[in-house]
Amino acid sequence: MRPRKGTIGLILYFLLLLLPIYWMFNISLRTNADILNEFALYPADPTFANYMKIFTDPAWYSGYINSIAYVAMNVLISLSVALPAAYAFSRYRFLGDKHMFFWLLANRMAPPAVFLLPFLQLYSTFGLIDTHIAVALAHCLFTVPLAVWILEGFMSGVPREIDETAYLDGYGFPRFFLTIFVPLIRSGIGVTAFFCFMFSWVELLLARALTDTVAKPIAATMTQTVGATGLDWGLLAAAGVLTIVPGALVIWFVRDYMAKGFALGRV
């Protein structure tokens, strides 16, 4: 009897979990007049007008392109600096290694709000304000530590004998690392990329502060509609639904590896 009771509870929970998302989807398929006029559990007369507006208005769709651009840059930067560093942490003992590791952790836990002002000052000195790279670099604050821990966990699972054998066979470090080691931990790299994507995609405080018009993320475009008079709920909901899509796609591809990332407890 017990597992069945649990399953019913679980299904109920999942329904509750999906309900707010469904509600936003429901609102997104209706016109603003319709939304404000009558309360309906499902769109009686669904319209894609809100979505069409987003796909045809550059002020809206460029937000998506900007978000995807800085997230992609961030994932690339994070992975390329974290791979060698994680290898160093997993294979070597060196002066100050523990302190460095702890300090990276502290960065992951640092309140982003703390870094708001210095980022603004620093990046305006370099003329980087309102560029994708500024946001990508700022997000490295928490994605780089994240990438190092997750990768270090996966790398420590690879026996050291592999490294030793390769060095005996006359491999140099770069060749060994790129042709043997990296392919061995490719699932770990996938998991890491997912978590970097996730945390860069959802962050907005820094992304909004560092951008103005050219590189403005989609989520910021949305907040600027809030508070304006005559708020268009349907349009806002449609934009919200579209921000969920990339995340949902990525989860679907990494679902089997995801649990492994969580198992290491390093998110």
Binding site: F14, L116, L117, M222
Partner: protein
């Protein structure tokens, strides 16, 4: 775990240091700089010592924000941890159900934080939101823009909705790591479901649960975007948490000094918790090997 001793490993860490210099080291130094100076304009600054720190530490609104923050984070742990464990226990162990559960659970985690706020505005508004209309229909006045209690209920609901899945995923990962032999032994002994939970599952999950508790505490301690979008810190200041207050301070005021001093104090509160977290992480690592 015996690693090779070689200080040349620093060369492998160099590229990371370079990036982190731009994203963490230099900014942090700038915060320290700002926190001890009064800046009137470019090239016009005075060293003021600990003046800003004293001002910020005696700020009543900061005390209130800290109290609210601690209440909030405490409630988050009390609700999310048991709920997350219960969900993990109810999740299927094999078959297609696993994939579906994982995907559904991970969904709230990849929604941008301010969109989470937007979802909950749309969901709880008394005019167009399902929850708002439903609750008001039952004859209970509910409006998170007007009453402090309603705002708290909305923010808590949103927080639990948003982050319980993370606890569940962590707990589930911990459960998966328990070898079948334990369950077989329990079955032979005729152990009850409660006994299995109390003496096998709970002790085995200790490591991941420790991490879940610390992660949820830290992240709820730093929360900003979701409640800001949903309530704007109000009504009044009733849902103004530490980060909300810090951003208000940083953006609203002419002198950046107080905000910088507050930033450092904030950071110093977080640091010891971080140390505990670090120790827990090391223990999980060794626990797996045994």
């Amino acid at each position: 775990m015996n690693k090779w001793q070689d200080n040349r490993a620093w060369f492998l860490v160099m590229p990371l240091l370079l990036i982190v210099a731009l994203s963490a080291i230099i900014p942090l130094i700038m915060v320290v700089n700002t926190s001890v100076q009064d800046i009137f304009g470019p090239g016009n600054r005075v060293f003021v010592g600990t003046e800003w720190f004293e001002e910020v530490l005696s700020d009543r609104r900061l005390h209130d924000a800290l109290r609210r923050q601690l209440t909030f984070s405490g409630l988050v742990l009390l609700i999310e941890i048991p709920l997350g464990v219960a969900i993990a226990l109810a999740m299927p162990k094999r078959g297609w159900g696993v994939s579906v559960s994982l995907v559904v659970l991970a969904l709230p985690l990849v929604i941008p934080w301010n969109v989470i706020g937007t979802i909950w505005i749309i969901f709880t508004r008394p005019d167009i939101g399902l929850l708002g209309v439903l609750v008001n229909g039952l004859g209970i006045q509910f409006d998170h823009t007007a009453a402090a209690l309603d705002a708290w209920v909305s923010v808590m609901l949103m927080e639990v909705w948003h982050w319980t899945p993370l606890v569940a995923l962590l707990a589930y990962a911990g459960l998966r790591a328990i070898p079948d032999a334990y369950y077989q032994a329990a079955r032979i002994d005729g152990a009850s479901a409660w006994a299995v939970f109390r003496h096998i599952q709970l002790p085995k999950m200790r490591g991941v649960l420790m991490i879940a508790v610390l992660l949820r505490f830290m992240d709820s301690f730093l929360i900003y975007a979701e409640p800001f979008v949903l309530t704007g810190g109000g009504p009044g200041n009733s849902t103004t948490f530490l980060s909300t207050y810090l951003v208000k301070l940083a953006v609203g005021q002419s002198a950046p000094g107080p905000a910088a001093a507050f930033s450092l104090i904030y950071f110093l509160i977080v640091l010891p918790i971080c140390l505990v977290f670090y120790q827990a992480l090391q223990n999980v690592g060794t626990g797996d090997k045994r």
